[in-house]
Symmetry: none
Subunit: 215 residues, 4 copies
DNA sequence: CATGAATGAGCCTTCATTCAT
DNA sequence: AATGAATGAAGGCTCATTCAT
């Protein structure tokens, strides 16, 4: 209830701001509201359990009206997914840019990933919560989007100086799996996302590498 | 398909044996068929996308007939979940029993977990694929079941000799998360579950060993 | 729960008694149990809300087994209806036989009717609770049965010495309607059926007496 | 059938009026049609035997469409019940208002009750045909509604000048029972509802009272 | 832009009934 | 006599989607 009202208040504020300042088309607003409502519902309930009625209702709209802004439920999911990838990618890229060495970059990326998924963004959580198979008609595009994002981790892991012929692919899957699964057990109040990221990377970080890097 | 036929053959054998020897109820056969069909569908499509019609159809039955064996879709999910936990727990326990030291035990457990989820058992995959929230009316019991299983990993991790005050909880979450997420990316033909388990535990073990030496 | 068990105990007792004493065919017993269970359910829940499963379960039987004793749900209803008419008619006839004059006979009949319907017999209550239209395929026979019983009241009212050309049909409908509707509002603890009968007939008798005197 | 068409004609007239004058929501039309169809089915078949498909079909609608107007079958029943109470109460109140003394008022009330239930209104008949227990989830509200209406008869009976310590409650139950049961035996062509009301009240009307009142 | 109203396919579930054993 | 197992029709309800206004 309360978060619903917050959402609507937020929408109104956004509306006022935009009209006063950069005068984006009004339509964009409603679309954004719908997107936000969809993101929240999809993140918390998954694709099948989220109804068009839920989303439209959260945005203060009737179900039929939603179709003025989005052609279908699949389209809406796609739009949320895209926005989710955009946001988490931006956060991760920004975090990585500020880190000094490969291990620090990886840890920063993990922290940014976790923060975005767990605290900051319903959009990003959708990427983790909704499986491409849940919407078979657009699953290809969902997979493409996710891969585009996850490619960053391939590069981050490739940059590590690992001893011996380590299988970097598995290292990446180990880390990303742990990060994504966090959505199942994470509750606010325990370790922060940043602490978790430090902990997770810590467990796989090679002391020799540190020594190497320090050199 | 193939496993369904196996099931049926198995059923006939069982029937012959039973009549001669211990006379178990005939019913168990159809119930088991339904359970197997449900497990497959639930593992592959999730709870909401799986219909009673799907399951009954797979078992060669009309939808209404299913209700002779199970009281509701929730009950069916619960039965599959229980069987899933039973199977994966048995496999993990057996694997652990044959291993010599803490690290070997952990690796054996991971291998057994992955093998069960990825190759052997639709039942076990359901534990990973279906979130308790998907069936709110029985979510409590699903959580209890899952916790009963995962407790094993807590004990396995507690038995490790770790340097310093490592946070064992996060180590467990790192590993289990990676294992469970594998369901999203795993395709037969790449690394075997056993290889993946060795790889995952290996990264952590080496990292910790180095940390110890470095001190 | 408790009444269910009582029923079953009752059935067992009945079984023992009968086998020891007059050795009626065992089948009759089970049929009687089913009839009793059906009567209770039909009296309390009505025809549509009562299921074959309910009845069979109350008699300690599976639904399919019931069909050995009764050909259909309609048949079962019919049998209960017949027994109900038999019982209430017997009670009313016995009561009427012991009364001295027409008004006393009418009152006695009303008291017996109310006692049977409200306290003594689920069977009789079914006549009042289940409308013939509820089972269209046998409604004709239900109506015939009910009419056969209600004919008694026609005769009882005809025997009254009424002033002037009173419409005896309406008098009968007034009384019978009031009696039958009692099932809707009656709760044990208030007036007894006998008191109600005295009260109902009393109103009419006094009113008619006065009318006579006034002339 | 015929009244359905009347309903539709009425709807068109209403529409024309509305658009010119007070612009009530168009929706009311279809809702009213559904209500009328539900009332007819419920009055004739009872609650359990009436299906959503019946009602929607009568209103020229698909089953799912009905749920745009009513949230559930229970809700629909409730709405019909409310309308039934409104109508019969209004008719009774109007009739009572035009009568000169307590006995005349009671007779007028009975006549209005019978006319409404038997001839004029499917809505009102539902109050008599459908027992609150038939819809357990809303039985409380149904009882409240029925009580609110029947309270009128308590007051009407209390106003009578009766000789001696008469039990007015039983007098009320006698009358109301007879009135409500009429639904079981009434067929158009015999006594009119008004004649029945005169007949019923006549049987219990005390000559002394009349004398008293005449004084 | 949005609504009112409806569609139609599909969902989970119930239930009287059947029948081989 | 009774059971296990199934059937098939139906029931209440949901939901993505459409479309005239």
């Amino acid at each position: 209830m309360e978060s619903l009202e917050n959402k609507q208040l937020f929408g109104i504020l956004l509306l006022m701001t935009e009209q006063a300042a950069f005068r984006a088309p009004r339509q964009d607003n409603r679309r954004r509201q719908l997107l936000a409502a969809a993101a929240r519902r999809l993140a918390h309930q998954g694709f099948r359990a989220t109804t068009i009625r839920d989303i439209a209702g959260d945005a203060g709209m009737l179900p039929g009206s939603l179709y003025y802004h989005f052609a279908s439920k699949n389209d809406l999911l796609l739009a949320v997914y895209e926005e989710g990838v955009r946001r988490i990618a931006a956060n991760v890229d920004r975090a990585v840019a500020g880190a000094a060495n490969p291990w620090a970059r990886l840890e920063a990326a993990c922290a940014a990933h976790l923060e975005t998924v767990l605290d900051h963004s319903d959009y990003a959580q959708v990427i983790v919560r909704v499986l491409p198979q849940d919407a078979p008609e657009v699953s290809d595009r969902l997979i493409t989007l996710r891969d585009a994002y996850e490619g960053r981790f391939k590069r981050l892991v490739d940059d590590l100086a690992l001893p011996g012929p380590s299988d970097r692919r598995n290292l990446r899957l180990l880390l990303l799996g742990a990060l994504n699964w966090s959505q199942v057990w994470y509750r606010p109040g325990g370790d922060t996302p940043a602490a978790l990221a430090r902990s997770f990377t810590g467990y796989i970080k090679h002391a020799l590498d540190e020594a190497q890097e320090a050199r």
